[in-house]
């Protein structure tokens, strides 16, 4: 009994003295004070940049956009942006400075909010495309370009703000503009760097990098860039957000350095930026400089066929001047046109090839359509379908040919025969002008082609061109304008 009493007493005494009354604070000040201090620092930093800030923001849908932002007092900002969008006062959004408001808020963390509409909101506006109001950013309605105008300030490092959008979680950063940059930006440089790159790309249509005898197609863009290459017979592409450097901008230069949000990694190659040396772009890998050259056509194989990158080829002499092969143009195309003309002055306008699903057999087929008009101007289309196989070496062989059932091809085939036979030749035991089913075929001569890109030599044309190149007569190739 006594023993229990002693234990109880001891325990109670232990409880009484156990409490440690000192509190050591992890931080010297409470969270509100600390947050308030941080906001003050940020506020001061934002306003202290004499020439404003350049914000680089990578939207989720439309790539990188850049804005010039000047924080004029604790609540007001001025902006310019690198596109000309629909704006209610019809201001040129890359040249006319627009005023709005911002604030630094403490929403658990420091937050930068642009709280009245300005150019930054153009990217976030959910009215992507609207017929009655105008296209604001070309994005999807309800989403826009999936951008932000409320940002958590992640850090301020070396005078650079790193931000994360609160709604779409887009990444952005702001760096101080120099005096030179502010001057050129106010003259519209944010947008004219894009125009300059566009002009450069009009001259260099198919930029490629040749690195150690391997070709890489490079799609240079002021919002995102892509490198495509062959990796064991398959095309691989790597994309990254990109933007044009303004630090060495001048009115006269041809283009500017293209900077990347993240380095482009291709196997063991790492591209950090595309540097412009005054006339050409190059990449620096290790100690080597690799220049971008115009390959005149893509280096990756043309992916034309059923359900492929391209499914249509339009053969139209009026849009292909200088690009068609002389042999095909004279012996097939022109001959067909002249012969058809003898049949009541019918005029062949153009032809097109589609890779489609056969409506009966559900096999992919190639369909040749020849469009013509009669002397009174009515338009007709004659169509033939070709069954094909893809050979091991990726060449294509057209095995059989059939008419599609209208009287157009039944009646005009005799005039257009050289064109129709070009892909697969038929000889008839008897030909019926009333029904294809009554026609008896005596001989079929399949033909094999290589499908490849062709250089576009047509002046002023930016179309992508592809061709069927007969394996046994490569000069007699058939060129067309590619479409998806």
């Amino acid at each position: 009994m006594k023993k229990i009493n002693i234990i109880t007493l001891f325990t109670i005494l232990l409880f009484s003295i156990s409490c440690v009354k000192d509190q050591e604070k992890l931080f010297p000040q409470d969270p509100d004070t600390r947050l308030s201090e941080v906001l003050d620092t940020y506020q001061k930093e934002l306003q202290e940049s004499t020439y404003g800030w350049i914000m680089t923001i990578e939207t989720k849908v439309g790539g990188v956009y850049r804005l010039w932002i000047a924080f004029t007092d604790s609540y007001s900002v001025e902006m310019l942006c690198d596109m000309d969008a629909t704006w209610h006062t019809k201001a040129v959004t890359s040249k006319v400075v627009s005023q709005s408001t911002y604030r630094l808020r403490a929403i658990q963390t420091p937050v930068l909010v642009f709280d009245t509409y300005n150019y930054l909101h153009l990217m976030a506006d959910p009215q992507g495309t609207n017929s009655s109001y105008g296209d604001i950013n070309g994005g999807v309605n309800g989403v826009g370009l999936a951008s932000d105008f409320e940002f958590t300030i992640d850090s301020l490092k070396n005078g650079k703000f790193f931000l994360t959008g609160r709604y779409n979680k887009v990444k952005a950063f702001m760096s101080k503009a120099t005096m030179k940059e502010e001057i050129s930006i106010k003259q519209g440089a944010l947008k004219s760097v894009h125009t300059k790159l566009g002009n450069y790309l009009a001259d260099v249509k198919f930029p490629v990098l040749d690195i150690d005898n391997k070709l890489y197609d490079v799609k240079l863009g002021g919002r995102s860039s892509q490198v495509s290459f062959m990796n064991n017979d398959a095309v691989e592409s790597v994309s990254v957000g990109s933007y044009l450097d303004l630090s060495d901008y001048s009115h006269d230069n041809i283009s500017n350095n293209l900077l990347l949000i993240d380095p482009l990694k291709i196997n063991n190659l790492v591209i950090n930026s595309f540097v412009f040396d005054g006339s050409d772009y190059f990449v620096q890998i290790g100690s080597n400089k690799y220049y971008i050259k115009d390959n005149k056509k893509p280096s990756i194989p043309l992916n034309l066929g059923y359900n492929r990158d391209y499914t249509q080829l339009t053969i139209d002499d009026s849009r292909l001047q200088g690009s068609m092969s002389e042999s095909f143009f004279n012996n097939i195309y022109l001959e067909s046109r002249q012969k058809l003309f003898t049949n009541g002055r019918r005029h062949m306008q153009y032809a097109y090839i589609d890779f489609i699903m056969h409506p009966v057999t559900y096999q992919p087929v190639m369909q040749l359509s020849i469009r013509y008009n009669n002397s009174s101007g009515s338009v007709f289309i004659a169509r033939w379908r070709y069954k094909y196989i893809i050979n091991e070496d990726k060449s294509i062989t057209f095995l059989e040919r059939e008419q599609t059932g209208s009287s157009n091809e039944r009646l005009q085939e005799q005039y257009l025969k050289s064109f129709v036979d070009y892909f697969c030749e038929l000889e008839y035991q008897s030909y019926s002008t009333s029904s294809w089913n009554n026609t008896i075929i005596s001989n079929t001569i399949p033909k094999t082609f290589i499908i490849d890109w062709v250089q576009n030599n047509t002046q002023g044309s930016i179309d992508m061109l592809g061709a069927f190149i007969p394996i046994n007569n490569k000069n007699n190739y058939c060129v067309g304008i590619l479409a998806k």
């Binding site: 009354k21 408001t101 808020r105």
Partner: protein, 306 residues
């Protein structure tokens, strides 16, 4: 003895146990306690003078995500449009009510918060243009489209305002129950599948009115007020014409025109008896609510540029 011992021990424990002193630090600073600091812009000054002081209404045009749906992409309104929009609302909603019901009416009854949003709110296939929460808060969308020359759009915006205000009125004093029994069968939760023509044939002023008696009541009020008596009369006549035409009738059980007239009569009586508001001109030369709103809409440019 044992009990006393334990009791004594407990008392000792009570007195000597933990006495932590947790003072509130004297220098604590609660961020933005009492609101965020702001320098008033011209817009803020105008809103303060025209909405806060006379009506105690807050107009929020600056972005505040917490006033809105958290899962929708929305953008703020152009600041330059705030004053024209609020002048329009004042001229075509507040002032007509003040004239017919006295200056204190709006002060007592009005919603206390207007939220202005620049873009529409996109839903699955539809867009939202206006919303009200319990008669205290009205959210208006797609205001970046506002143009003083676009009277169609202005009518749409004002219909929303009058509609939501109608809810405030009947939630304060309910309209007579008999209103619910004029077209009781036709109310449906899938109102969005009811075409405007079908709604008319059932005796409704709009498709949305078929949603519930409450919506019906405020649709009657807002559409008559914003689109005028003539437009309403035309709808009534058209409804009756269809009913009387055996080819068009198609098994209608009652005259929808008469139903609309019954609803109108209850609305007129309700407004007069409960709020002393004349919907139509009470006597020649004295203007009722509809005429005042119509006058204001017809002179909207003058009101906005004033």
């Amino acid at each position: 003895m044992k009990k006393i011992f334990i009791l004594t021990s407990l008392i000792i424990m009570l007195f000597t146990s933990c006495t932590k002193e947790d003072k509130i630090p004297s220098n604590t600073q609660f961020l933005n306690l009492g609101g965020e600091p702001y320098t008033d812009s011209q817009t803020d000054v105008w809103l303060y003078d025209n909405y806060v002081v006379p009506y105690n209404m807050e107009v929020k045009y600056k972005w505040d995500q917490f006033e809105l749906a958290l899962n929708r992409t929305l953008v703020p309104v152009y600041e330059s449009l705030v004053i024209p929009i609020m002048k329009t609302i004042k001229g075509t909603w507040i002032e007509p009510y003040e004239q017919v019901a006295g200056s204190t009416f709006i002060k007592k009854m009005s919603p206390k918060k207007f939220i202005l949003v620049g873009s529409p709110q996109y839903n699955n296939g539809t867009i939202t243009l206006g919303e009200a929460e319990g008669g205290r808060k009205i959210v208006m969308y797609r205001l970046n489209w506002f143009s003083v020359n676009d009277i169609t759009l202005i009518r749409r915006i004002m219909k929303t305002v009058h509609h939501e205000f109608g809810h405030t009125m009947h939630q304060t004093v309910m309209y007579p129950e008999e209103y619910m029994y004029i077209t009781p069968q036709a109310y449906t939760s899938s109102w969005n599948n009811v075409s405007d023509m079908d709604a008319m044939k059932l005796g409704f002023i709009s498709s949305y009115a078929t949603a519930s008696p409450d919506e019906d009541f405020v649709e009657m009020l807002s559409i008559i007020v914003v689109y005028g008596k003539e437009a309403f009369d035309n709808r009534v006549q058209e409804a009756t014409r269809i009913y009387n035409d055996p080819e068009l009738n198609g098994g209608m059980k009652y005259d929808p025109g008469a139903a609309l007239r019954q609803k109108e009569a209850i609305l007129i009586a309700y407004l007069k008896q409960v709020w002393n508001v004349d919907l139509y001109d009470p006597s020649p030369g004295v203007k009722g609510l509809v005429s005042l709103v119509q006058d204001a809409l017809n002179n909207i440019e003058e009101i906005v540029n004033k």
